[in-house]
Amino acid sequence: MGVVHIRTPLEEETVLSLRAGDRVLLSGTVYAARDAAHKRMCEMLERGEPLPIPLQGQVIYYVGPSPAAPGQVIGAAGPTTSSRMDKYTPALLALGLKGMIGKGYRADEVVQAIARHKAVYFAATGGAGALLASRIRKNEMVAFEDLGPEAIRRLEVEEFPMIVINDAYGNDYYRQVAGGAN
């Protein structure tokens, strides 16, 4: 099974080359944001305010890391369950978000929005928090520091291991597996 190396920001050509089930190593900038940060960003959009992070071609990682020890870049930093962000996701995809990293199923409307906006949803291994943290090189606070583990952070990742779940063609790897395609 081959592994594809990709970089952020995600070009359309890169997104279109990925298929559900592909194993991927991602390098570059990703933004850490989960439940409370998504709620706030969508409230800002409703009020017509600018978001604290760029979205065009960017990747959001659904993670709430544990605190970093002195000398460490970050604490444990594995993915959280993505479906809790489903409510907010189509609006962010419409603004140019190209990739999301999490774990677990997405709602049908999100799977369709991913295909419509030519984006991609990746899963990383849930519970492998220490191993995934070792692929994170930089960690900067960007916004909503008061949210603690739910603040938005800019992370630099290097060869971050993931698998494509939902591709730009409407495929869903979890469903393929459940249907015996694996």
């Binding site: 460490q72 444990a76 930093a77 369950t81 774990k103 519970g127 928090g129 220490a130 694996n182």
Partner: protein, 280 residues
């Protein structure tokens, strides 16, 4: 009456919180290795290999194995011939959680109000189940229970006529619906009987038994084995990416119940099955 100092409880709890999060139990690691040998799927083997390496790295770095360091859940057995002096037992447990999660750089994952949702900042309050037992010892069983698997857990009041087949169908349906969300390979805790709240507590309690250990009652042990085999035939596999290992183990506990009732609770635990016990 034997006396146990408040601070003794605080320090013991703090150490349990850290140890549970930094080091997976030997039972969990053994189950990973056993699954690695048995798995036929390449993807499943890759995920299990990551989990073994993750556990080794976390122990080496003294970093939590998972960023979701969980809700601190305690089953406490308080001997009738001992008491805590210098403060209340539940306050000592919460102070220990505050200390352990703070010193140990474990994530604060509790909000103080389920609708207003402001983080309490120290992972308190703990959830405490207290039982009075014989003797002069205080036994604390602690779990750092992850949120993803808790969210996919379920409780149903079945009809007595549904019987074992109904229970089995409900357990399989819960695991199937959870799919990748609950971070398989799972440990599945099943509480059957009691009433609405009792079956949920039985299911949670069952998760504290070591992985690989069958129930001492051979009839219940047979139910566990049957469920484990059927769950692993679902093909969900590690992280829902397909494979033979959807669950590492299944635990069942039974309790008497009302003539009209057959309550069943299914409490899912992710592969980060983090439990510790201390006897004071």
């Amino acid at each position: 009456m034997r006396e146990i100092r408040y601070e003794t409880v605080v320090d013991a709890v703090a150490e349990m919180c850290k140890a549970a999060n930094y080091e997976l139990g030997e039972d969990v690691i053994t189950a990973f290795r056993k699954a690695l040998r048995a798995e036929r799927s390449v993807t499943a083997k890759d995920v299990l290999d990551q989990l073994v390496r993750n556990a080794e790295l976390a122990a080496e770095l003294r970093m939590p194995t998972c960023q979701d360091t969980g809700v601190a859940v305690f089953f406490v057995e308080l001997g009738a011939d001992c008491r805590v002096v210098g403060g209340l037992l539940q306050d000592a447990i919460c102070e220990g959680v505050r200390k352990g999660y703070g010193e140990g750089l474990l994530r604060a994952s509790m909000v103080g109000h389920p609708l207003k949702r402001v983080n309490t900042g120290d992972n308190t309050p703990a959830i405490i189940h207290l039982e009075l037992v014989e003797g002069d010892r205080l036994t604390l069983h602690m779990s750092a229970k992850g949120g993803g698997s808790e969210n996919m857990s379920a409780l149903r009041m079945l009809k007595p006529a549904d019987g074992w087949e109904g229970v089995k169908a409900f357990v399989l349906d819960t695991v199937r619906k959870a799919g990748p969300n609950a971070c398989p390979p799972l440990v599945v805790g099943v509480g059957i009987g009691g009433n609405f709240e009792k079956c949920a507590i039985l299911a949670k309690h069952s998760l504290f038994r070591p992985i690989g250990e069958r129930h001492p009652d051979p009839e219940i042990a047979a139910l566990e084995t049957e469920l484990l085999e059927e769950i692993n035939r679902l093909g969900i596999g590690p992280q829902g990416l397909g494979g033979d290992t959807t669950a590492l183990d299944v635990k069942v506990e039974l309790h008497p119940c009302h003539i009209a009732a057959l309550p069943v609770a299914v409490n899912l635990n992710c592969h980060a099955s983090r439990h510790r016990t201390v006897v004071l």
